[in-house]
């Protein structure tokens, strides 16, 4: 559960999947950082991540945080997107059909209501090939 302010503040990063790339060592970080996590450089540029990637790991959560009950069982994945990794929800797939290495693509979906009662939209992922759902 979040707030309108938070969603508004991070909307660009969250919806466009904006990472930071270090101009000195090349490390790509998502979420974006104020300094490079690898070398400490502040010479960073914002870079949009690819919208198609593959599942590195996943979990199926039966007890999500309060407010997310309607999304249970909640499938959360770590997804490799280009040179970065992203944590996000996976939708349009049965839990039993998720597997490591699965190709997925970003999609815009509704999330749980914020504390202020607003319905936010966030980036989630779905299987690239509908046959695998």
């Amino acid at each position: 559960m979040t707030t309108i302010q938070r969603i508004w503040r991070i909307k660009n990063t969250l919806l466009r999947l904006l990472s930071t790339r270090c101009l000195d060592c090349g490390f790509v970080a998502y979420p974006p950082k104020a300094s490079c996590p690898k070398c400490g450089s502040r010479r960073l540029i914002k870079e949009e991540l690819p919208k198609i990637g593959e599942v590195l790991s996943y979990t199926v959560i039966n007890v999500p945080l309060r407010g997310f009950e309607e999304f249970t069982p909640l499938i959360i994945c770590l997804i490799k997107l280009g040179e970065a990794k992203v944590l996000a929800e996976l939708v349009d797939v049965k839990p039993g059909n998720v597997h490591i290495g699965m190709k997925v693509m970003a999609t815009l979906r509704r999330s749980a209501k914020t504390l202020d009662g607003v319905i936010p939209y966030v980036v989630k992922f779905r299987p690239l090939s509908l046959g695998s759902s």
Binding site: L65, G67, I76, L87, S111, A112
Partner: protein, 383 residues
Amino acid sequence: MGAVRRVYVAGVGMTKVDKHTETSLRDLAAEAAFKALDEVGNEKPEAVVVGNMLSSLIEQENLAALIADHIGLRGVCGLKVEGACGSGGVAVLAGYSMIASGLYDRVLVIGVEKLLERPTPDTLRGLAYAADADYELIYGVSFAGLNALIMRYYMSKYDVRREELALWSVIMHQNGAKNPYAQLRNEITLETVLSSPVVADPIRLYDACPLSDGAAAVYITSEDWKKVSDTPILVAGVGNAVDSPDLSSRVSLDEFYASRISAEKALRTAKLDIKDIDVAEIHDAYTITAAVSLESIGFAEKGKAAKLWSEGRFRPGDKPTINPSGGLKSRGHPVGATGVYQVVEVAMQLRGDFPGVSVPSEIGLTQNIGGVGSNVTTIVLRR
């Protein structure tokens, strides 16, 4: 690190880890504090450092003032230290620093937490605050869910079987059954773990530590004041390191970088090698946390920890013996107090008066983790 003064654990105290419905946070803290103070002839400390993560859940902050006042210590220096589930470890580190720097000679460090005062969903939400609120919690992922991502990645990368990881819980309950301060004192079987409800696949209920209430305290002194104790234990080394709270920007998902760095720092300041450790209390919040911690600290090669404990390693009688207390799994995990419990337990092992599984030892280590390996404190103790 420059030259520092030596620091000793002169007195220790702890409450049983439990659901303490009838005891308030301040009275839990007082029980642990008075035991530690009684061990040093009630010599008044100059400062109180409190480790705590989630007292806001029970609508109470300003804990140093609350507790110091409650135990008759108005006027002393007081502060609270927070590092998620690693708050106890960083509180000991802060107290250590006050003495090592020469600022004070006598500091009382108290870790205290009440997780069972609120309904479970509220507490689980609070624990998840250790993760990244903007980019992780926005998806409703629980703390168990984050650890489950590590667990599946690890099992897949190193071809570790579910049963091998589950065995850790069985071993911990064997140790904890003998610890009068432990929360879960029942012995369990592999079947207990494998048939328990799935919390966040592949993590089941018995892969996880319980929610706990509890308090622990250590009275630490400078060289000049160690005489307040008959059995002072040297704090030979301390080390803390942080990593990203979020998992996605980590360089590596199969080790805890901060765990490795903090252990290296602590061993370096102690001028000791990992092979010197006789006994250790590590942070096994989940079975996967035990495996990754043992490997990151250097007790096992990457991917090998579960194989080693399946072969009988790390149990009572082995060097090192790991978690003779029963660990977080069986002793319990009152989060902001856990790091202090670990120091109390290892100090008692070195003194020879730990009331559970006793490990004759000269050198011990504690490691307390906040988040999924994002704020880690390692402490080396020496008789």
